[in-house]
Symmetry: C2
């Protein structure tokens, strides 16, 4: 089956790679970070602003859009791109994670998951087939297969059985596709944190020849080194000519470390969610805008940042907005954090193109970004 | 005393006027509507957006900025223009209204008002002198005198005594000015809803030769015709060559009706606050975005509007954002309502320049805008 997704490798530095992911709605230079727009909106930010700050693709959520406003409604309105006013590539989470984490009484059977939706208290059932149907109706460029998400830690037997079910669900997703020329399907490597299970699962689903592959089942509370170990373990078993997506990761340093392990694509709520809580990423470390030290600080958030927020407003003003619960605060702070992430991705692409030494130098900087802010 | 404010009359149509108000931070074509930015921010909107949608001046609040972040802090940061990133004219409310309406235990004496601030529970005292001091420290173009705000209805004796006190407070404000070359002082005509008291007060404070005059003590719950009657009664007693500001008014139709009675300058929370509650002004009437009829409506809010929101998003999407409590909703809806108001002001200026007939035709349209939305 010919794929609507293609990936061209440009350069490598060790296992790190740069490339271009081609989608029905345009190209994504990789490594790339997709801002999270769960409900079809990156909170507080317009599509032209996303474009301007350097995002080339965004992520939305199948589960949330299925519950509200409904995939048929979005389809009637011309699909998700038109609905949210974003003409670039869109990837949707399958919704599996949300079903497991948000809903009461989630009951998993071979058929799918029955659960009670928190929004309206109604019982609903999500199956691999419906999951594909919803994502194709949304008309997204990249659909994620419906997988079973399990907790960490989980015992080996439970992980093995769950991973087998994920493979069967993936096959049902594949069989149910109607519009492969418009919406690519990504398989998700599971296998928990058991090396042999993960490698076996990667090999098994690579055989199924999907459009691309994601590393799933991480960011579930495990230690950071476990997450990186799974990325390191998995990427050598994925095809070189397909894009590799590490789901839900992470801090800037996590992204640098995952890129050096051969990952191309990322999404994470951290830059947007942290911004709404007043936590900013800067070249001088992590800055809490609520801190009294910024009360009359006339400087922008980050002297090395050229985003609209940093060009236009002082820390004192941003602190004032935040403490006054003004909605301009999350808007401006989100814009900064997303700009910080996109600049990181651009620098990562440059570093990989330059070589391992530059990548190592960038990692040293990223370590500093994780520390508390220092003048 | 030479004033930092000047007003040039351009044209009249009956008692309606167009003109240009010159301030230290630029010109304001009148009639003009000032968006409300209480805490030094028009909720959700950036200064370049305000400029683009046609606002030439904004309003902020003395009381709120005095309590937080503090006028000395704002002064240290270069003044309110620099603090909030707005380089155009700023007018500040005196804060009298807030002290009376928001605080517990407000006690009025000849000296000023002692009250308990809701924000921190602290006892504070606002006097005419402090009110001027705060506004001059903020560095605003137009400061409002500290006046006593009384309830509606109030008996004649109470209104008469209060109006006399307002005059004494105004004189104290005038005596305390340090920077008349930078911050103009506007006197506020009180007198409640007693014709003779209001006329007498207008005449009395016009004698004091202030930079401009406001009609105050309205928008306190009185019927609409009472408000308009007070505007009609007062404007003939105000100087032709000074700008006239009707505080806190109002709906589009109120503004049209006040302009025909000789008012030049307006501010009101309605376009911004209504937007946050999902209530939109459109050329087809007032639209409630929560309404189920808009569930799959692909049209923009207002077919006659060219604002970013109307150019870019469907009613269905805006409804989805609103119901999902997404902060992009208040942002986009506020942008539309403010654009609607600014377009009204531009059309009012054109109509006054064209003559009374055009003004009457615009009023007929404005009557339609006040009705519930109709397809």
């Amino acid at each position: 089956m010919s794929s609507c997704l293609s990936f061209s490798l440009l350069a490598t530095a060790g296992r790190a790679r740069t490339g271009v992911l081609r989608t029905p709605h345009g190209d994504v230079p990789t490594p790339a970070f997709m801002p999270v727009g769960t409900y079809g909106t990156v909170k507080g930010i317009t599509p032209p602003e996303l474009r301007e700050l350097g995002a080339s693709a965004v992520l939305a959520n199948t589960y949330h859009l299925w519950v509200r406003p409904g995939h048929r409604e979005v389809e009637e309105l011309g699909g998700l791109h038109s609905f949210m006013g974003w003409s670039g590539p869109i990837l949707t989470d399958s919704g599996g994670f949300q079903v497991f984490s948000l809903s009461e009484y989630a009951k998993v059977t071979e058929q799918g998951v029955r659960f009670r939706a928190p929004l309206d208290g109604e019982y609903r059932k999500l199956t691999p087939e419906l999951c594909v149907e919803v994502q194709e109706a949304l008309g997204v460029d990249m659909a994620m297969a419906f997988d079973e998400c399990i907790e960490w830690p989980a015992d080996r037997d439970r992980v093995a059985r769950s991973t087998e079910r994920t493979t069967r669900w993936l096959q049902r997703c594949m069989a149910h596709r109607q519009r492969p020329e418009r919406t690519a399907l990504l398989g998700i490597v599971q296998g928990g944190f058991y090396d042999d299970l993960r490698i076996a699962h990667a090999q098994e689903i690579v055989e199924l020849d999907l459009d691309a592959y994601a590393i799933g089942g991480i960011s579930v509370g495990e230690p950071r080194d476990q997450m990186l170990a799974m990325a390191e373990l998995t990427t050598p078993h994925l095809p070189v000519d397909k894009v590799r997506y590490l789901m839900g990761v992470g801090h800037p340093l996590d992204i640098v470390d995952a890129v050096t392990r051969g990952v191309d694509l990322f999404d994470c709520v951290l830059p947007t969610r942290n911004a709404r809580f007043g936590q900013l990423y800067t070249s001088r470390g992590r800055l809490n805008i609520k801190n009294a030290r910024f009360r009359v600080d006339p400087r922008g958030l980050d002297p090395d940042c050229t985003c609209y927020t940093c060009r236009s407003f002082s820390r004192a003003y941003l602190r004032h907005l935040f403490l006054s619960n003004e909605i301009l605060a999350p808007r401006l702070l989100t814009l900064h954090n997303l700009s910080f992430y996109q600049r990181l991705m651009a620098r990562l692409r440059d570093a990989v193109n330059s070589g391992e030494q530059e990548l190592a130098a960038l990692r040293i900087e990223a370590v500093r970004w994780m520390r508390p802010y220092e003048d």
